[in-house]
Amino acid sequence: MSITVKVPASLSHLTGGKKTVECTGDNIAACLTSLEAQFPGIKDKLCNEKGDAFGFINVFVNGENVRYLQGMDTPLQEGDELTIIPAIAGG
């Protein structure tokens, strides 16, 4: 199952500059594991040791925040688009 993941600028140094990557997985947790397998170190920037997204990271599936769906267990379907939006503070 192929999921498109949009990586924010603040993490694109971990994906070799790629801003969009393809992952697999039938839920968010599996998708992030697939992301980590391709780009080691990226999951630590997104999730705590329990595997939940940090408070300064928002993960959206097709524009819906997974925090208000089923969190890391939110199911994914072929062609879904995952957008990772971290807090930024520049002004």
């Binding site: 603040s10 928002n58 524009g63 925040n65 939006i85 503070a89 002004g91």
Partner: protein, 254 residues
């Protein structure tokens, strides 16, 4: 309204969505900018051009050479001057009708209520998490609309926070990143024109609020990527357990 005012604001007045009534509302409005840097510059510039009656500006910094790649209220001659002074000079020369009030200090949890007291709308143009959470909490507690904007490298964000009517900044980001985990614009860079898009989006939201027109960015985070030229609107929900605006806070206060 004087003949000169009718001429200055004629492109507004001619539109039925604004009209003379709407322009009068703008002329009476009081907006405060937290920060006179990349976002505060274009936001403040357009608000002054639109004739916002009173513009407050909070910033403790002085103008530095590295600011001038994006902070268009300032210029080379004003290096070393307080940013609030430089901002006041630029805004007053654009529109002498606007009253610009400057506060050369850092926003803190102690002074925020007092600084925001005389204003109807707060625009968060700051450059750090502490100030953003303080602006958010103060606006929630005082019931003032807050227009959030932030920029980093080639990406920008904006959201409008109406206390009680939608999610707040802390509903969106429950906790700031621990210090040192994310790079600052000083280290990672900032595309100069980027705040020139996000700051005016914040000014647009402020003017729509003043006019009572259009749909606001409440409960929707606008995310912009300059490299892919994509604008995304992402749903943000009110968190019932939010430490800033959740139910527990309400009970404590009542």
């Amino acid at each position: 309204m004087t003949e000169e005012q009718k001429e200055r604001y004629s492109r507004h007045i001619v539109m039925p969505e604004v009209g003379e009534e709407g322009q009068k509302k703008i002329n009476k409005a009081r907006v405060i900018l937290v920060g006179a840097g990349g976002l505060g510059s274009p936001a403040g510039y357009y608000l002054a051009a639109a004739g916002v009656g009173r513009i407050g500006i909070i910033d403790h910094d002085v103008v530095e050479l590295s600011n001038l790649q994006r902070q268009i209220l300032h210029n080379t001659e004003r290096l070393g001057k307080p940013k609030v002074e430089s901002a006041r000079q630029t805004l007053e020369s654009l529109n002498p009708e606007v009253s610009v009030i400057t506060y050369q200090e850092r926003l803190t949890a102690e002074n925020a209520c007092k600084l925001f007291k005389d204003y109807d709308i707060v625009i968060d143009c700051s450059d750090n998490y502490d100030t953003r959470y303080i602006s958010n909490e103060t606006c929630i507690h005082t019931g003032k609309p807050l227009i959030y904007g932030a920029v980093f490298r080639f990406e920008g964000q904006a959201m409008t926070i109406i206390p009680d009517a939608g999610p707040c900044y802390q509903c969106l980001y429950p906790a700031p990143p621990p210090p040192g985990i994310v790079l600052s614009p000083r280290e990672a860079g900032l595309f100069g024109v980027l705040p020139g898009l996000i700051g005016p989006i914040q000014a647009t939201e402020a003017l729509k609020l003043i006019l009572g027109r259009g749909e606001l960015l409440t409960g929707r985070l606008l995310s912009y990527n300059a490299l892919t030229m994509e604008f995304a609107k992402l749903k943000v929900q009110k968190d019932p357990h939010c430490p800033a605006c959740g139910k527990a806070v309400k009970i404590l206060q009542s």
